[in-house]
């Protein structure tokens, strides 16, 4: 969407882009003052670690959504990636890491090919692969009865459990990927193509933007990242848990939207997505701190929060 930059527009944009960041800062300050334990290094480390897995998935989702698409398969691919990593870990570090990336990447590639080449809706194609990936997971785990364990002495476990200054490796992986993702999105021609594809697909095609190739790439990326997040989680849990990741695609979409990326495509930032993850995780953390509230309130608050953000975004855009 091309708009003429006017003063109001610029101000709106700042609010839109910084709105989530302002909310995050406020949440953190208030939580810190209210719950002394919130600010403890242990809690912050835990918070960052919990958020890192979602960040990895949400980076891919951000790219997909900017092209105007959606990827519902990431929750299943996340679980599949974890199981594949745990199974592969018996053949060493490399197998544990590459197997999930390759398999989930290929499923993402198929998503992309179907969407780009056959004009089928992303929603329905990735809905089918959500089912397919879950089915594949069940097939390799004896219908979910078999949870593969990762040997404790495996180097792979270190990837999930190792720490630097107490901060887990997954946090660094997520941070590096976020920086990389931001650079790819803003500094490369591929990134420009991603924006162009989502902004005005017809015009992009006419201008010679490789729309089909761009779409194939973003879905492949999204699948691979979901697989990686699963592998990291498996390394952290030391096993391939079969039942995780149900509904995770919706969490990922929610944080991307909270971060200011428009579902209509053509606009969005990785930083916003990271902030979106931060917000959701801080809310969950605070609800846990309150203690007397049962965990069901987490989803109520998350839902209300998502609602407030999208309504505000909509009002600011007018």
């Amino acid at each position: 969407m091309i708009t003429t930059p006017t003063v109001t527009n610029a101000r709106t944009k700042v609010l839109q882009r910084q709105g989530a960041a302002v909310a995050l800062v406020l949440m953190v300050v208030v939580s810190w003052l209210t719950f002394p334990r919130f600010g403890s290094l242990d809690n912050l480390r835990d918070l960052a670690l919990q958020g890192s897995f979602l960040v990895v998935i949400a980076i891919g989702m951000t790219f997909v959504i900017i092209t105007g698409g959606i990827d519902l398969s990431v929750g299943s691919l996340y679980a599949l990636g974890g199981v594949l990593a745990a199974w592969g870990s018996q053949y060493g570090f490399l197998a544990a890491l590459t197997l999930p990336l390759v398999v989930c990447g290929v499923i993402g590639l198929v998503n992309g090919l179907l969407i780009a080449r056959t004009n089928m809706a992303p929603f329905i194609v990735t809905l089918a692969s959500l089912l397919f990936a879950r089915g594949l997971l069940l097939a390799i785990t004896d219908e979910g009865a078999n949870t593969y364990q990762i040997p404790g002495d495996s180097a792979f476990v270190e990837l999930g459990r190792g720490t630097v200054f107490g901060f887990g490796y997954p946090i660094f992986v997520a941070a590096v990927l976020a920086v990389l993702g931001g650079m790819i999105l803003n500094r490369t021609s591929f990134g420009q193509n991603v924006f162009a594809t989502g902004g005005a697909e017809q015009s992009a095609v006419l201008l010679g933007v490789p729309v089909a190739k761009t779409k194939v790439l973003v879905y492949t990326m999204s699948g691979t990242l979901a697989g990686l997040a699963g592998a990291l989680t498996a390394a952290y849990l030391q096993s391939g848990v079969t039942v995780i990741g149900v509904g995770l695609e919706l969490d990922a979409i929610a944080v991307v939207v909270i971060g200011g990326t428009l579902l209509t495509g053509g606009m969005g930032t990785i930083l916003g997505t990271v902030i979106g993850v931060g917000l959701i995780k801080v809310i969950q953390n605070v609800i846990n701190q309150i203690g007397t509230l049962d965990s069901n309130y987490q989803s109520v608050v998350s839902g209300v929060f998502l609602l407030i953000v999208v309504v505000l975004q909509r009002i600011l855009r007018r």
Binding site: N119, I124, D294, G303, L306, V310
Partner: protein
């Protein structure tokens, strides 16, 4: 002369091919159901029994009721992800009011459904939020709210009259199946024979044009989402009654995906502007038959899910719009 004949011949070939694709697009779901029925009649033991058909229909009834609403929403170029959460809300409400009689409990559940749906419709129509996001908020929050209401507990229900809804039958036809069939007729009438139905399809086809033509776009959209909400609540009530327990944690889980699948497999395009009620009914029956066939032939869940995925892709591939 020869050239004209060849051209004419080519044209005929092309138009027959196009006609064949078109026919397959329109009738694929009926053919698929017929093929599956035939296959089961020949190769599945105890398939052609009244008991089996009743079981299949009873299992399909709540999905069908939800899918009917989903078809309407998709017809407006929208989608409703909150239907499963609304079912859970309805389930959570029932034990609270069952003391005041089953009628009171059911009414309250349906009121919640209407309110939830109207709220979605308000967000989509008046605030202008994309349907996926607007209904995603209720999907995330709704089930949580249902669990908060129910205190996270499963509650056994003992009210005879209420349980009759799930177990009773009229002339051998289970009540829930009757209700589902009746609602299918109502929704079909609504889409094909009323102004509301025509306006709904017009909005889905081209919202801007519909607005310019002076159609009451907001009112119709809110109405459509409210109908979807109440249908989801009805499905929640029936499923709760059949379960003889209020179980907000599991009630309607992933129902949005089943409903969307059935609607799309039934030939209603996600791009809006068209609602196929009979197709939706057969879409639900097809997915139910697929599941039943796989189970009866002892195929594991894993294979069943992968086959369902393939069927969804195949159905949408056939029905897709050409560039």
């Amino acid at each position: 002369m020869t050239r004209t004949t060849t051209q004419a011949a080519t044209r005929t070939v092309i138009s027959t091919a196009a006609a064949r694709t078109r026919w397959l697009q329109d009738n694929g779901v009926y053919v698929a159901v017929a093929v599956l029925l035939l296959f089961n009649a020949l190769f599945t033991a105890n398939f052609l029994t009244l008991g089996n058909f009743t079981t299949q229909l009873v299992q399909a009834a709540p999905v069908l009721i939800v899918a009917l609403g989903m078809a309407l929403v998709i017809g407006t170029e929208g989608v409703d992800l909150s239907v499963g959460a609304v079912m859970a809300l309805a389930a959570a409400i029932i034990p609270l009011y069952l003391g005041a009689g089953p009628l009171m409990a059911i009414t309250m559940a349906l009121v919640i459904g209407v309110l939830a749906g109207a709220f979605n419709g308000f967000l989509v129509a008046k605030v202008g939020i994309q349907p996926i996001v607007a209904t995603l908020a209720l999907l995330v929050g709704g089930r949580g709210l249902a669990l908060v209401i129910a205190d996270g507990q499963l509650v056994q229900l003992h009210d005879e009259t209420f349980l009759e809804l799930g177990t009773g039958d009229v002339l051998g036809i289970p009540i829930s199946v009757l209700i589902a069939g009746l609602l299918a007729l109502v929704v079909a009438g609504l889409t094909n024979r009323t102004t509301f139905g025509r306006q709904l399809v017009a909005i889905g086809g081209n919202r801007k044009a519909a607005t310019l033509a002076g159609l009451p776009v907001n009112r119709v959209l809110i109405g459509v989402y409210a109908i979807t909400g109440v249908l989801a609540a009805i499905a929640g009530v029936l499923a709760t009654s059949r379960l003889a327990a209020s179980d907000p944690a599991d009630m309607g889980l992933l129902m949005e995906l089943s409903a969307i699948t059935a609607v799309v497999v039934g030939g209603t395009p996600l791009t809006g502007g068209k609602v196929r009620v009979l197709g939706t009914v057969f879409g639900v029956i097809l997915m139910q038959l697929v599941r039943a066939t796989l189970i009866k032939h002892n195929l594991p869940d894993s294979i069943a899910q992968m086959i369902q995925a393939a069927i969804i892709i195949a159905a949408v591939y056939v029905a897709r719009e050409r560039r």
